[in-house]
């Protein structure tokens, strides 16, 4: 009986509440550490590769037996210790993570004993911010996607490793070449800050104006050579009244300034004008070339060439309207094909043209904006920064580029990376434009270096293209912003000379 007495209702509640209380606390605490990840390095190294192999997507390759020759001096330029586990944290978006696992396998293969832990992520900044603040960042990161870190902020905080050693290292599978010599010229510009390479772009994109080849063939149209031709052509389309000459990604005016405006500016005024903008020189935005380029895109709105309603559409919505042949042209990069794959009519046949220039322009009229996305970085405070660099050497190898082209239908900026791989028609047309440009790869960094200029360009280009600002007003506003940024002591400044 006494035994039973101990379990009165009150006693029962008392004990359970205490138990529940401690359980709840520990749950909350463990949930908290889950938010600010302090990764536990798995000590049982043998289980890791198996786990990685089983969780790899179907597209991931089977274990390979070094399918390409590696020169002896290219085997281990960083003299890596092999008893470590490389902590790689990678954004996993449209490209998936198969190509990352492939590169990890290459690194493991050429350094027997080494383990490369591939952790796919969605929101990069949210997940890794606490690790940067805490001083224990991972060894290599794919900093991409909507929730990525601004590379410039990481650079300003001294959180990124200068990749000079990697750039000078021998390339993995291009004999006799340095790593940097195997990458497309201009493709890594956006990772350069004050002359130092802090980020590497793994996906190559060419940006221009897209149209349906089927539509052009049917009407026996030809792609305009100069901007004057573009406006004249738009006029005839408008007069016919069947479809609008132009549309753009309305709510995201980036496509108009980032792809069209800067390229027009280069073609009017040449590289010097862009360098002056990047270096925040006084009155750089007031250059006569800026006015001409601005008037060129403003004419699209002013003459009524932009599809009605464009300003209210998102990027995918406007691209969908364009695919329905509601407009002839849309500016975009080579990701367009993949992005719209599921809604593209079979006979649409999208191709890219360069930005039509000017007969009397100072820039190379064949020039093109060809850059990269999917920026990979190595944190300066990483435990194994050299292993991180070695990962990038494998990721940007010819073998990896071929895998990327074949399995993800996209390109890496690696010379010879698509040898023997099947390339889509849209990509082919873009590559033809890039090849025609030769070394005239257009480069501007002002929006990349200064977040404020980026934001304000976005806002005011939207206003320009809806007639709320006139070209001269647009340039006045932008000059004022640039002056403010130049005068702000809290904003670290960058320079480039060529």
């Amino acid at each position: 009986m006494s035994h039973q007495k101990r379990f009165t209702r009150r006693n029962f509640i008392k004990t359970t509440s205490l138990v529940a209380g401690t359980a709840a606390t520990s749950a909350v605490i463990s949930a908290c550490t889950g938010v600010a990840p302090a990764p536990v390095q798995a000590p049982a190294a043998t289980t890791v590769p198996e786990a990685a192999a089983t969780s790899a997507p179907a597209a991931a390759p089977a274990k390979l037996d070094l399918p390409f020759p590696v020169a002896p001096e290219a085997m281990d330029p960083f003299k890596l210790a092999t008893d470590v586990e490389v902590d790689g944290q990678f954004f996993s978006g449209g490209f998936g993570d198969g190509y990352i696992r492939y590169a990890a396998q290459i690194e493991e293969m050429i350094h027997p004993g080494l383990k490369v832990q591939v952790t796919p992520l969605q929101k990069v900044q949210e997940t890794l911010q606490a690790r940067f603040v805490g001083g224990n960042p991972p060894d290599v990161i794919d900093n991409s996607g909507a929730g990525m870190f601004k590379t410039v902020d990481l650079v300003n905080e001294g959180q990124l490793l200068d990749l000079a050693e990697l750039m000078d290292a021998p390339a993995l599978d291009t004999p006799g070449k340095k790593f940097s010599e195997t990458l497309f010229p201009g493709s890594q510009n956006s990772g350069v800050f004050n002359g130092k390479q802090y980020g590497l772009n793994v996906a190559y994109t060419v940006s221009g104006i897209w149209y349906s080849k089927t539509l052009f063939d049917k009407n026996s149209w030809t792609y305009p050579e100069t901007w004057d031709d573009m406006l004249a052509f738009s006029e005839t389309i408008k007069k016919e009244g069947k479809l609008a000459p132009w549309t753009y990604q309305g709510k995201y005016p980036y496509y108009m300034w980032g792809i069209v405006w800067f390229q027009l500016l280069y073609k009017v005024g040449g590289n010097d004008v862009l360098i002056k903008l990047d270096n925040l020189e006084p009155n750089a935005w007031k250059d006569p070339a800026s006015l001409q380029a601005t008037e060129s895109i403003y004419a699209l709105w002013d003459k009524g060439y932009i599809m009605p309603g464009t300003a209210g559409l998102t990027h995918t919505e406007s691209q969908a309207e364009w695919l329905k042949n509601k407009a002839v042209f849309i500016p975009c990069g080579t990701w367009l094909e993949n992005e719209m794959k599921t809604v593209t009519p079979a006979d649409f046949n999208m191709v890219m043209g360069g930005i039509p220039g000017y007969k009397d322009g100072k820039g190379d009229q064949k020039g093109i904006f060809a850059n990269g996305g999917e920026t990979f970085v190595v944190p300066s405070k990483a435990k194994n920064p050299k292993h991180g660099m070695e990962f990038l050497r494998c990721q940007l190898s010819k073998a990896s580029a071929r895998w990327f082209a074949e399995n993800v239908s996209s390109m890496m900026p690696v010379i010879g990376g698509t040898e023997g791989a099947k390339v889509s028609d849209g990509m082919k047309s873009a590559l033809a434009v890039a090849e025609g440009a030769g070394t005239a790869i257009i480069d501007y960094q002002v929006a990349n270096w200064y977040s404020k200029i980026n934001k304000e360009l976005e806002v005011h280009t939207g206003e320009l293209l809806t007639g709320k600002l006139k070209p001269a007003e647009f340039l006045d506003v932008m000059q004022k912003i640039a002056d403010e940024v130049a005068a702000d002591p809290d904003t670290p400044k960058f320079k480039r000379e060529k």
Binding site: T22, Q129, N156, T310, A311, G312, V459
Partner: protein, 295 residues
């Protein structure tokens, strides 16, 4: 027994109080401190910045622009939502046919998250395939064909406020209906015998008897108007609208922190917003204080 009782109470309190201190009190105090620093949020490199963040805030046109939209929301949403909700509440307590159906229908938007509501209404406002422009076309208003409701600085904030009204009315209607149904029917009967019409019943009996519910609604709506984060983020695709014409303080705050890397500045903004909200709640409670009739 006394000791056991204390221990018993303590065992209940220790967990919530600890959790509250760690996750609410400590962050509040820390953020007050961070507001006086320069911090990019990416390393432990934090430097004291005095009141510079606050002076910068005071001189930042984007902040005033965002705050003005919160202000407009406050001035517009409060009277509009409360009057519409009162109207429908009164209507549906008059025993009209289908009242129950309408109550559920009107309450329904409240059940959906702001994200779903934002996405749905973005389609309604779509320039070419949107319901709104389609309806206007049927009515013969051709000038509004493919008008970008969310792409024009003059219409974007009004369009978003309309959605907020649509979503919130149902909740306050239900709040008022509950209040109205607890008003004793003989008050109305007595007044009616004295010759009062429906309008007099509403203004002289319903409103005063409902005052506590209306007060609650005022405070809730005032707080909601100072927020608006989710709906603005969704309907402007995170940009605050063309020309920042629908920007609100909480959105501009996240832009400062996450996109411009100004965590100290963003925290200063959050602290200022907190005091504004605190002030508004105190003022609205004070100015709406009335003698409550017990019944």
């Amino acid at each position: 027994m006394k000791h056991g009782q204390k221990l018993f109470i303590f065992s209940f309190l220790v967990v919530p109080v600890t959790v509250y201190v760690i996750f609410v009190a400590v962050p509040y105090v820390t953020s007050m401190l961070v507001a006086f620093t320069k911090w990019r949020g990416l390393s432990m490199n934090i430097t004291f910045n005095g009141i510079n963040n606050f002076t910068k805030l005071f001189n930042d046109p984007n902040f005033w622009n965002a705050l003005s939209h919160n202000g407009i929301a406050l001035v517009v949403l409060l009277p509009v939502i409360i009057s519409i909700a009162l109207f429908f509440a009164f209507l549906f307590t008059q025993g009209i046919r289908g009242g129950g159906f309408f109550r559920i229908t009107f309450f329904f938007p409240q059940v959906m998250s702001a994200i779903i509501v934002g996405v749905l209404w973005s389609f309604v406002y779509h320039p070419t395939i949107g319901l709104l422009n389609g309806a206007l076309g049927i009515l013969g208003i051709q000038s509004m064909q493919s008008f970008p409701w969310l792409g024009d600085p003059d219409s974007v904030f009004g369009s978003i406020l309309a959605v907020t009204v649509w979503q919130a009315v149902g909740f306050y209607m239900v709040l008022f209906i509950t209040g109205m149904e607890s008003i004793p029917a003989h008050f109305y009967e007595a007044a009616r015998i004295d010759g009062a019409n429906s309008f007099v019943l509403f203004t002289r009996i319903t409103i005063p008897m409902l005052w506590e519910a209306i007060r609650t609604a005022i405070v809730f709506l005032a707080l909601g108007a100072m927020d608006m984060y989710a709906i603005v983020m969704i309907m402007t695709n995170g940009s605050g609208g063309p020309s920042r014409a629908a920007d609100v303080v909480p959105r501009y705050l996240t832009e400062s922190a996450f996109q411009n890397g100004e965590w100290g500045y963003a925290t200063a903004m959050a602290v200022v917003l907190m005091f504004i909200i605190l002030g508004i709640s105190i003022l609205s409670l004070r100015f709406t204080r009335r003698e409550v009739l017990e019944f």
